[in-house]
Symmetry: D3
Subunit: 312 residues, 6 copies
Amino acid sequence: MGKGMIDLSEMYTVRMRYPFKVENYVRYHGRVNFGQGGQAHDVMDVIKEFGMVPYEAYTGKTWDKDRHNHSELGSVLKGMIDAVIKRRNPTPVWKKAVDKVLDVYMGEVPAEFTYEGKTYTPKSFAKETGLNPDDYVEITSYTHHPFYEKFILEIPDNYDNSFYYNVPVDELMNIIDNALENGYSVAFDGDVSDKFFFGKKGYAVVPEDRLDTEAEEPEKEVQVTQKMRQEQFDNFKITDDHLMHLTGIAKNQEGTKFYYTKNSWGAESKGKERQFKGYWYMSEQYVRLSTIAIMVHKDAIPAAIRTKLNIK
Amino acid sequence: MGKGMIDLSEMYTVRMRYPFKVENYVRYHGRVNFGQGGQAHDVMDVIKEFGMVPYEAYTGKTWDKDRHNHSELGSVLKGMIDAVIKRRNPTPVWKKAVDKVLDVYMGEVPAEFTYEGKTYTPKSFAKETGLNPDDYVEITSYTHHPFYEKFILEIPDNYDNSFYYNVPVDELMNIIDNALENGYSVAFDGDVSDKFFFGKKGYAVVPEDRLDTEAEEPEKEVQVTQKMRQEQFDNFKITDDHLMHLTGIAKNQEGTKFYYTKNSWGAESKGKERQFKGYWYMSEQYVRLSTIAIMVHKDAIPAAIRTKLNIK
Amino acid sequence: MGKGMIDLSEMYTVRMRYPFKVENYVRYHGRVNFGQGGQAHDVMDVIKEFGMVPYEAYTGKTWDKDRHNHSELGSVLKGMIDAVIKRRNPTPVWKKAVDKVLDVYMGEVPAEFTYEGKTYTPKSFAKETGLNPDDYVEITSYTHHPFYEKFILEIPDNYDNSFYYNVPVDELMNIIDNALENGYSVAFDGDVSDKFFFGKKGYAVVPEDRLDTEAEEPEKEVQVTQKMRQEQFDNFKITDDHLMHLTGIAKNQEGTKFYYTKNSWGAESKGKERQFKGYWYMSEQYVRLSTIAIMVHKDAIPAAIRTKLNIK
Amino acid sequence: MGKGMIDLSEMYTVRMRYPFKVENYVRYHGRVNFGQGGQAHDVMDVIKEFGMVPYEAYTGKTWDKDRHNHSELGSVLKGMIDAVIKRRNPTPVWKKAVDKVLDVYMGEVPAEFTYEGKTYTPKSFAKETGLNPDDYVEITSYTHHPFYEKFILEIPDNYDNSFYYNVPVDELMNIIDNALENGYSVAFDGDVSDKFFFGKKGYAVVPEDRLDTEAEEPEKEVQVTQKMRQEQFDNFKITDDHLMHLTGIAKNQEGTKFYYTKNSWGAESKGKERQFKGYWYMSEQYVRLSTIAIMVHKDAIPAAIRTKLNIK
Amino acid sequence: MGKGMIDLSEMYTVRMRYPFKVENYVRYHGRVNFGQGGQAHDVMDVIKEFGMVPYEAYTGKTWDKDRHNHSELGSVLKGMIDAVIKRRNPTPVWKKAVDKVLDVYMGEVPAEFTYEGKTYTPKSFAKETGLNPDDYVEITSYTHHPFYEKFILEIPDNYDNSFYYNVPVDELMNIIDNALENGYSVAFDGDVSDKFFFGKKGYAVVPEDRLDTEAEEPEKEVQVTQKMRQEQFDNFKITDDHLMHLTGIAKNQEGTKFYYTKNSWGAESKGKERQFKGYWYMSEQYVRLSTIAIMVHKDAIPAAIRTKLNIK
Amino acid sequence: MGKGMIDLSEMYTVRMRYPFKVENYVRYHGRVNFGQGGQAHDVMDVIKEFGMVPYEAYTGKTWDKDRHNHSELGSVLKGMIDAVIKRRNPTPVWKKAVDKVLDVYMGEVPAEFTYEGKTYTPKSFAKETGLNPDDYVEITSYTHHPFYEKFILEIPDNYDNSFYYNVPVDELMNIIDNALENGYSVAFDGDVSDKFFFGKKGYAVVPEDRLDTEAEEPEKEVQVTQKMRQEQFDNFKITDDHLMHLTGIAKNQEGTKFYYTKNSWGAESKGKERQFKGYWYMSEQYVRLSTIAIMVHKDAIPAAIRTKLNIK
């Protein structure tokens, strides 16, 4: 989303976001999602409130230089706060206990750090990068709310009730194309667990006969409509299971349009997926169907659409 | 909230709100509250979208002229939609099935009805009453968000993520007093299950020693601070378990200020509570502590506060 | 069971039987089976009480011309009635709610319909076919009850406590053979989930070494005795998981006797099973072992056996 | 039900009935009731199959001369057979294990015993008493089945699917009166946990305002109709929680008719109930409402009703 | 157990014992008790390994000067370690996380502290007091192990498998009397939740008719035998629910012997119990029955018994 | 462990140990392991208390000459005793019921039997064999307790809190080698469910890259350290899932040292494992890593180690 992002500490975002997630879960008495996942706006919210730090200043790893174990951390935290909720008369110290557990698993967050010879606080570092969280908006495309308005997207990972702009799917694709053509990357939040996301082969399509469970490499794709998007969303077929970056556009020999996609697991992927170095091609139809929402810089939105959305 | 409200069908609100509750619960895969309760804004949302009907045009009772059984209805609906969610591949007909079940339990909603000799649709009737849902705002007072801004109140019954204005508790009381003095009633959403809500005696106070479990009729009240409010909210001591209307102000012999409160169960209350005909007195301190939020007409807010809240 | 059956609406039976299943489950406070399955007599009970309709007059499909979703329907109904039972103080309207849900999922049942130019009610249509439900009896063969008497077969799907005649297994086979030789089909209720029911190959046998889990196409069969039948039934090895029709007798090259069996899923079977168009061959030994019970026309029973059973 | 019954061993019935209960529960894979309770016909079924023994020959007590502990026995047996069912591949020895456990808790059943100087087997003793189980029939009164026919009463304790004759409630009362007037006692199976069964005061009535939870000794009774019976049965208000014997008829000063009722716990009742020595008075209306079914000698039924029921 | 004990920090024991409890629970994969309770030897084990500190140097309170909330702490810890166990592949940091949580709830343990003008470590302070943990032994009296040997007492709170000496109950009482007469106090671990522990009246007895649930202040006590002790232990009637100190012997007017008992909740007890300032009288018979085990100084044991136990 | 052991009845051990297991489980109110497994000392404990019998005198099989079904027995017993625990007021007969169930499933234990022409009791037979249970000790190697001391090994199957000697892993291997070289076999309690225990190939190793899940027959082994042992034990990677006998030492062509291991399932193993007739080769590294504990005759321990352990 900007040149400086390459070296950022994702784990700083995770670390700084956890106390909010935990408090939110307790306030709703556990009747809200508490997962490890999040949405693209989580990153921006953290930057806005707590700044950002480069990866070298906060790796988020404490006991193994190569691996995180967010799964144990997540389970341990849930064990703690479910206990707090069940008691219905919490002490004032449980939040502090949660903070200490986060520090043990992820490391303490630096108040100051040195980067390329200069000393920063997370806030001053964020300022230095020039990235302004308020410049980024999330956009989706569903028909159960009116287009060109904002609404709180009803997915469990949107646990903090953020607003998403709503546009027709054709305009959603316009925005993506416009952004990529003008040098902006696009944060993609969508479904990569679909049967036709061929992770091991490096690409994803929407074959015509999705019921034919024996087709391995389908040749023809279906044309994804707004109605199909909605049905698959309503039926839990398409869920928000991964965040990636769309970084370019390509065509294969048959002329099918694909989006070149950077997967954050990149270097860590295993087995056959390793060969793609964290990059995949998702077909245009796949993106039309499987995108839950995108986050882009306001300036990457075509002017006509931006006007309709009343984004200043 | 207006003269015409007296004869309104509460059940119309409940009936028209259920499909939204049900869909919302399914969209969040069950990770959200699904209770019988609601907030004051639920009423306004229904009026805005579906209008209103007088009680005589829609009693919401089908099998017993005297009683509702929303408890069976709620359990039956939850049984249905939990089954839908668990399957993760819903048919397109389950919503229709929910609608039919609502009709069976509560009766079909009239497209048109006659009231005092005139024929109305719910929308035209709402228009006729002159009540404008947009005139009403919800206001609360908690310190985990900044004052004079709106925030999504984190209580399970605020399942639809509505916004509440946030003011200091002294100004909250000002608003209530100003409203009552100017002839507006105030919708109170708060806690009536507190041990010192003496339902059978008709009043509620905040005794000084709340731990003294043997005091039956405490004499002295504690002075409720903003900090106390927050602690009791954070510890789940004060929860939103009932909606009532504050309709007047009174003082007892010792000069303690009480709010005269109309309870919607009124006529149906049993045993000793019957003598109060659905009216209770809540002391000023009790209201300071136990009010989760209020809903008032914008014009009932003192001008200075209204300006700070930027309510036009 | 008669020529006219070919075009009958199975779904009419299912639809008309559900209210009884539901009520029965509630009357026993949930301590009885509530599944989608049933026994052959369910069909006859519905014909007797509610008549029958041709498939074209009642497809039982409302939202997809090709598929049922009885699984969602079953779960939704169970969710509803478990809620009703748990409350222990049911309203009088829950049965009506169940009926409406059945209508939404399966369609409303026609009071009258036109078939081949004539107008019928379900009852008049049943009469027209000449099929008399009282002509059909269910027969089983187990030793925990005396032979030649009726008993209530203790299987969960016999939730309505129907009676079955009990004969030695040799006579059970006699009845089947006699029926098929005289042009009657035989309804078979038995086990097709057995490891040696080779659905994908189109036949089923009882190999000598049933423990040899590597044998794929066993050559020699065991001779099934009355004792084996009983043991496998007592140990839940043989359960009533499917209803089919035995329609003929055949021998393979080695002279093994097989029963030609029409499976109701016929046209809808998937993958390799498709090639058999819903027909399978079950060996004589397989039928001896895996038949829970049969239903046949009284007249298809050899006279000597019929006398012993005292069937008039 | 006969003079000789006074000294009979109830525990013999319980002991001999348990293996059937256990096997039945396993056959239905646990989807049937397994409680300590039973119906009047359980006694007759045991007499028919296993005879009877006097109390002195089989007390059913092994470890405490004064008390049974059927509750531990029942839980232990359920623990065993739930384990058997869950495995789905039972050994042939589990039934024997159940038998041994029954022997440990209740004592071994005598093959022979001496009573008043003569030696009997249970069967010869039963013969000696002259009691013929086939002379007894069970009768109920509900409208969800046709009158004057038999049906399998749908209550969890009728786990063995016994048939009950069905008559209008007025005729049910006629049968009771006729029996008592002619020297037959009547086995009553019904509800004694009703709020207005004043166990500690020795009588039971049906007060007019059953909702008035504060009335302790109501003066006026409601007239119980067939419809009320049905509603309370359908709503689980009236359940079969106890077996007693109606032994006589009495009137109080106001002329209200009561049935004098012998409770089998008699001698063992505690506290204030002790004064009634196991006898209670149930008002006519209470019996009309709370009788699930009765068992009487065929000859105790008025001839006209017997004809309608086609009991020979 | 010594003069210096009066000012000791019980919470230091709790704090230092928790990591062991937690690790033990995880090692047994959760198949061992994890409660807040403990046995008298827990204190000695901590003194031996970690020394002791005076109350003023470690209150164990962090967020409320008056109260602990070990209940939330216990639940939170259990939530954490159940999560760790369920994963079956723990990280190396979970123990550190547990330690931090303990510090948050109970405060950090001082490495050094000043007491009456001198500086100590916990170990040097323990040495200063002269108390030698090895001087203390635990003694019980049950017949399912041989007398005069040690055995691991099978109670859930003995999670660390400590050994107890076993003596006849008469000798157990001798030891208590001998200790009290010679100026030693006796740690009592036993049952205070018994119905006849009249906490609000300040004394405990063993009334003759323990079944008479209406007797409030029984006059005559039963003579407790070894057999009664064993039965009540085997039947879970007597459990180890509290630790107290026996500090003296007294007789009432009728000559009944009582033990004067110091309850550790003393100052904090509520309501009517407050008047006893944490002291109760337990009758001789009550102590015979309800003592699970005692801990005494070796020198407090009569020489003859000590010889039999082979305690040097 | 001695020549005479070859013909011993393992089932006698199981049978005689069960009542202890059951009682232990009930005493700890179910908060302890109740599995079918055990440790090597279980055998010795039974010999010491109840003697031993040859296989022909007690097969432990009652209903099938070829198979046990301890799994049903274990479930049935657990069902019984969980019921007993839940009631919290057990009768005195439940243990007898457990004994009878054991007899039904495993056969009654002979008080006397004839073996090779002589009559024995189990005790006299044990004496005759000359085997002295006190000669055998269990030894393990973990660093969470000091070396050269005994401790209660914290594994769920050590439900009876037995003590194990603790030595460094190199000495543990010395003991094994010394024993085998001097003609003693060694009981091995350890992990055979490890992915690199190639049961079907007859050997087990510790490949260098244990994460490489595709290596089927790894060539190079890792050198197992004390630290690795501890980590895998602490992380539940190595568990005590099987008891076997180490009976010899061998080297393969590459010079890798293997232990020849006799598996008790030997004759009964199925499929490809059958070819090894119950014998496997475990590499030295595998034994270093996967041995939870061993049991050996005291005299098989090298003198120097024995002195350090203070074993007389």
